[in-house]
Every structure is written in structure tokens, then in C-alpha cells.
Amino acid sequence: MRKLVTKGRTISEGIVEGNALVSKENFSFSHGIDPYTGNVCDKLHEWTGENITNKIIFFPFGKGSTTGGLWLLEAARLGNNPKAIINLEMDPIIASGIILADLLYNIRIVALDRLEEKIFDLIETGNFIRIETLKEKIIINL
């Protein structure tokens, strides 16, 4: 296992492991996922046909409707949320969904942003990774 230590901002802390799903395209949960299955249903996104449930997902920025937080929250209520969300800069819409999932359903989704951009090149879809957040420091094992 290779160990990467990077600076970043912890939005929601924790230790998780799972399969990575990585895209350099921006993504919206609103109309982007089917909350009942976790399937990606945005036909214009490269993840179309993939499933986000229990994955560690990487995409640069959020986009689209202000209802995005609600779509993520609904997926969490049904147990189809990703384990962790990693962005270059996290849209407050997504952070809101993560906060509400914790306060309403006690579901912790690990969330990070402001990582070094090269991380997006080092991790590929399908890699099994482990993430540990320590305030400003993030440890990724792959």
C-alpha cells in the first residue's frame, strides 16, 4: 500500500475505506443520481451507469440546482449515499446535505476539499483506498 499525505480541508471528519469513483467533470446530485438505487442517471456525465453507494467519490466542483443537498439527503436516508465526497472546492449545497444527513439520520459522510489537484491524477476509479482525516492533513492509502 502506498501512503499519500496531503493538505486539505476537512468538512466532515472520519476514517473510511472503499472503492474510488473519480471524475474530472463537475457533478450535481440533483437529477444526477437516483436516490432509490444510488445509480448515476445524468446521461451527460461520464459516470452514467455507475453507482455511488458506499463509494469514495472524487469530482472537482458541484453544480446545478439548490435542491442538490436534498437529493443527497434522500440517498442517505435510503442508505445509498457515498462513504466520502472529495472536491477541489465543496459547494455549500453539498455540505448542507452532509450536515443534514448527520443531524437528521446520524449518517456520517466523510467530506474533504482543497486537496492538492494532483490527487485527482493519482487515484483512479476502482482503486480500493482508505482515507483518514486529521484537521488540515489527510492521509490516503492506496
Binding site: 437529477h31 437516483d34 446545478g64
Partner: protein
């Protein structure tokens, strides 16, 4: 994050559970985004959407159980609601969904919502003043409030907007701060938009070029009116996640170009041509043919002048029996249009008007709809997605009407 005495009392539960729960949400969000303090808000606009989502009902139930009440003027977005249930029966909306929607509506009414059911609350009395802090959902309303009114709001999601309205406060970060409202991209037009459709297409084009940035349009024509700005912002927000734009000489924080840039230099300059607009129209078209099931107008909700234009264009015409012509607007705008005898003309043509509603998240699949025509770039972007999954023929209002009557 600094909390005042009143903030602390709410946060630690002295003002009851609803205030405490709301403050927990807001303080956590504020701490992530580096807010130094909480600031008072003057109004809220809440989503009341996706009643089919258990989470949407449960969050309202939780706040209602805790006896939460809105403490500032709070309007609500359109959706399935009491004023149009009968209309949706015509279109076979499932009763189960109607039941859930009624539940959701009962909760927000109990919390004290002003039931305008529109995505254009600024036309319905939720009109914040320049520089006032507000907490709004609905991306098209957020960009309008920030850009055209000069009020200050971040994009909030369901739950956060309610929490803000319960405590009358918002964490001060993002667009609530002057420095984050400065333009960083310059846009020049070498054509003159005239129709609403062209403004919507322009917004999409800008959204495509400067996602997440703050654009300033240097030369919008003098004829630009408030409805043009409404659709311009709506498609910019939907395509590019943009929450504020400036237009030199038109919007309040851009009396001059220098003011919009807060004396900084633009990161990029783009010139938008007629060809860019043509390319955007092609991109927004997802329909394979002009064979359509319905024409849908009014996203964001049609203003009174759009309804007037529709009445003029539909006067004396008959909509084909095998398709629906649907116009979406607010209940109060429709009341006005009735007094102006415009609705009579529209109804005579066979077109239908839906007050306080929106096609997004309705059961268009169950109605058998596969393809629609619209002059709204925002509809052209959202209707191809779940749950509607419609093909969209995107064109101007005149061609929409031609398609409906020939």
C-alpha cells in the same frame, strides 16, 4: 465563530428545540465556510419540493414537531399545491403524490409561509432592498436577488433556508461579503439580444463559459428589462452554478465597470457572437424531431408582460387537440391577467394555465409525455433529466406557437 448572547441562547436550547436544531445546522455550515459571525436576515424563500422524497417530508415534520415558526417574511417555491390539484387531476398526477404534497404544504403553512408558490417571489412581495441579507433557495431567484436587487444571499438548500428563517439569521460567508461579489470575468456582446429566448440562450452561453465565476456583461442594450434579466440569470445559474452577475449601467453593483471589478482586472474576457448563440441553441435541443407532446412556457414563472405577449400571439388561434399547451405562472399574476381579459383569450385558444406550479418533478412520464417544445433555456436544461427525462425542442415563442397550431 463568534456567537452573540442571543445566538448562544438559541444554540444551547434556551429558545426551544427548533431554534437549537436550526442553529446547529447554521453554525456548522458557517464554521466550514469560515463565517466569523451570524448576521440577521430580512427574508427567506424556501423550497417545498420533491414530496416524493421521504427526507423532504421528514425534515419539515421534525421542525414542526419542535414547534418551529418562521420569524421573517418567507415565501415558497412552486410545486404540487392546493391551488392546482384540480389541474393536475386533468393530467393524471398520482393521488399518492398529491397526498404527500398536501402533507408538506400543511407543514410550511403551519410554520407561517406566505403561500405565493412561485420561483419569482420578488414579483410577489418578497422584495429585499439593496444590501439586505436574505436566505433564499431556488437558483434563479438567488441570482436575481444578488444581481438585480443587490440583496445578499448564498445558494441555500432545503433545510438550511428553513433553519435560517426559524432563527432569522445566516452565517456570514460567501456572497454575504462585499469582497466575494466582485466580478472576475468580462463579457462583451457583439450582437443585440431582443427576445426573451435570446436572453435565455445568452445566459446559458455565459454559464458555459464561466461556471462558478462572477461575470460582468459590459454592453447589455438599454432595452433590457426586468423579465430579460430574470431569464438571463436563470439559465446562467442552471448551466454554470453562477449566483451573481453584473451588467454595467444596469445592475446596482455595476454603475461602472470598475465598480463591478472592485478595481481589479478581469481574469478573462470573452466576446459572445451571434454564432455562439446559434451553437448554444443547437446544444440545448435534445429532441430528435418536431413531433412533440406539449409546449411548456413559464420557467421561471411567466411575468404579466409574457402573458400579454402570449395572449396577443394566441388570439384567434386553436391549439391542436393532440397536444398540451401549458403556461406556468404565479396565482397573483394570473389574477391580474384575468382582469386584463388576457386569460379569456388564452383559454379560448385551448392553452392551459397552471398557477403556482412547475413541470420539474411532476409525473410527465406517467402522462405519456416524451417530447416538449419550450422557449426556456432552464427548462431545456432540466427537463431532459430525471424524473422527467423529456426530449426538448428549444426555440422562440413564435415557433412554439406555430408548432401548436399547425
Amino acid at each position: 465563530m463568534y456567537l452573540s448572547d442571543i445566538d448562544k441562547r438559541m444554540y444551547y436550547g434556551e429558545r426551544g428545540l427548533a431554534h437549537q436544531f436550526s442553529m446547529q445546522i447554521l453554525v456548522r455550515l458557517g464554521e466550514i465556510y469560515g463565517a466569523k459571525r451570524m448576521v440577521p436576515i430580512k427574508s427567506a424563500h424556501v423550497g417545498c419540493v420533491y414530496p416524493q422524497f421521504g427526507a423532504a417530508i421528514e425534515i419539515m415534520k421534525k421542525i414542526d414537531d419542535m414547534k418551529g415558526k418562521f420569524c421573517v417574511y418567507t415565501s415558497a417555491n412552486p410545486i404540487l399545491n392546493p391551488i392546482n390539484f384540480n389541474k393536475w387531476n386533468e393530467l393524471n398526477e398520482p393521488l399518492k403524490l398529491q397526498k404527500l404534497a398536501k402533507k408538506q404544504i400543511a407543514y410550511v403553512l403551519k410554520m407561517g409561509v406566505v403561500p405565493v408558490w412561485t420561483c419569482t417571489p420578488y414579483f410577489e412581495g418578497n422584495l429585499p432592498n439593496y444590501g439586505e441579507i436574505i436566505s433564499w433557495e431556488e437558483s434563479s431567484a438567488v441570482i436575481f436577488a444578488n444581481s438585480v436587487l443587490g440583496a445578499r444571499t448564498n445558494r441555500t438548500t432545503m433545510g438550511v433556508d428553513i433553519a435560517s428563517s426559524i432563527v432569522g439569521r445566516a452565517p456570514e460567508y460567501g456572497l454575504l461579503l462585499h469582497k466575494n461579489r466582485k466580478a472576475n470575468i468580462s463579457i462583451k456582446l457583439n450582437f443585440e439580444p431582443k427576445k426573451l429566448f435570446e436572453y435565455g440562450t445568452l445566459g446559458y452561453t455565459i454559464g458555459k463559459l464561466c461556471g462558478g465565476k462572477v461575470p460582468v456583461i459590459e454592453n447589455l442594450p438599454e432595452s433590457t428589462n426586468v423579465n430579460h434579466l430574470k431569464v438571463l440569470g436563470a439559465s446562467m445559474a442552471t448551466k454554470g452554478g453562477i449566483s451573481i452577475f453584473h451588467a454595467v449601467g444596469i445592475t446596482p453593483e455595476a454603475r461602472t465597470k470598475e465598480e463591478a471589478f472592485q478595481n481589479n482586472k478581469p481574469e478573462f474576457e470573452h466576446i459572445i457572437t451571434q454564432k455562439d448563440i446559434k451553437d448554444s441553441i443547437i446544444e440545448l435541443n435534445t429532441a430528435k424531431s418536431k413531433k412533440i407532446d406539449a409546449i411548456v412556457i413559464g420557467c421561471p414563472h411567466a411575468g404579466i408582460d409574457e402573458i400579454k405577449e402570449l395572449a396577443i400571439l394566441l388570439n384567434g388561434k386553436k391549439i391542436n387537440k393532440d397536444l398540451y399547451f401549458c403556461i406556468f405562472s404565479s396565482e397573483r399574476t394570473i389574477e391580474l391577467a384575468k382582469k386584463m381579459e388576457l386569460i379569456k383569450i388564452i383559454k379560448k385558444s385551448g392553452a392551459k394555465i397552471f398557477p403556482g406550479s412547475c413541470l420539474v418533478s411532476q409525473s410527465t412520464k406517467l402522462w405519456g409525455w416524451k417530447s416538449v417544445a419550450t422557449n426556456s433555456a432552464k427548462y431545456a436544461l432540466t427537463l431532459p433529466l430525471k424524473p422527467n427525462e423529456l426530449d426538448v425542442y428549444y426555440t422562440d415563442l413564435e415557433e412554439c406557437i406555430d408548432l401548436a397550431v399547425n
